[in-house]
Every structure is written in C-alpha cells, then in structure tokens.
Amino acid sequence: MAENEGWQAELSYDESKIYIIRMIDGVAWKIFHDGRREKVEPEPAKEQ
C-alpha cells in the first residue's frame, strides 16, 4: 500500500468454517463452498 492510500480494512474468511446447513431426506448436512458435504453429528449427551 502506498503511503498516501490511507487506512484500509479487509474482511477475510476461513471458508472451511462458513457453511450452509440443509436438511436432505431428514438428515442435516453441512454444505461447504466447494460443494463438500458433511453430516451434522448430534451433540453428545451431557453428563448429569
């Protein structure tokens, strides 16, 4: 950046952490920007 261009902000992203959750045939899937899918695993039950 040249000295006189002033301040700049930039928003950048970890694409692996931005995803769509979609229900397909009753199953929830994470869908990533590259089309990769990953089944949403249920949260483990908390110990009482």
Partner: protein, 133 residues
C-alpha cells in the same frame, strides 16, 4: 476507506487525533447483504426479508500480524431458516439489535452462498477476520 463505514472512519480519527467523545459499542451485530455494501450503505437485507435477522457477533482481542492488526469472531453466528437466495456480503454493526445502529465494517464473501428455503447459514467461530492495515 475500503471496507470501513464513514461513521467508523470518524470514530477512528477522533479516537486517535483529538479529544472528541467516541462512544464504544458494547454489543455487535452481523448482517447479510444481497448486494455489495459500501462505506455509506450496508446494503443489508431488511429484517424479515429472505427470513434474515441480524445476529449477535463477538470478537477476540486484536492481534498484530506482520503489517496489519486483526480481530477474529469468537462466536458461532447462525442465520436460520433462510429463504432461497444468494448472499454475497457481510456487515458488522455497533449494536446487537436486529435493526438500526451504525455500520462499522463491511465486505464481500469470498464465495457467495446460495441457499434453498429452510437452509441455515453458519459463520463459525474463527471464520471471520477483520484486518486493519
């Protein structure tokens, strides 16, 4: 200034260069935009449109990295039950309220996300970094 809203530009300058009062936000909101936000227009999707509701965001303390400083989100931001659409931009506001407040920073997603009705869009903790340089 790229990706810094005009109100935030004023606050930055006043904080650094004079004694004018600058009010810090105490909560932050993350909004989605369909178009391209600018320093004077968030291009935010109105509440209720596309089922989008601005969500609360939080950020970890800034870290100096090489020639810039960065802040990264520290919570999962989930936009639930969206309508079908293509979401291309993100806005960061100085309030967690679902509307109003002032725009701080804005930017375009590297990859716009196209949803079907009922989808959720998740910006997980650590996914969004704001850099100032």
């Amino acid at each position: 200034m790229a990706n810094i809203a005009t109100g935030m530009q004023t606050s930055l300058l006043n904080w650094a260069l004079n004694n004018a009062a600058v009010t810090r936000p105490t909560a932050w909101g993350i909004g989605l935009s369909l178009g391209s936000p600018t320093s004077t227009s968030a291009s935010e999707i109105p509440v209720g449109s596309s089922n989008v509701t601005r969500q609360t965001g939080s950020f970890a303390p800034a870290t100096a990295v090489a020639s810039s400083a960065t802040c990264t989100n520290s919570n999962n931001v989930t936009f639930s039950n969206l309508s079908a659409g293509s979401f291309s931009g993100l806005d960061i506001f100085d309030t967690a309220a679902t509307a109003g407040g002032g725009l701080l920073f804005y930017g375009l997603l590297t990859t716009p996300r196209t949803t079907l009705a009922g989808d959720a869009l998740v910006i997980a903790s650590g996914a969004l970094t704001v850099s100032l340089f």
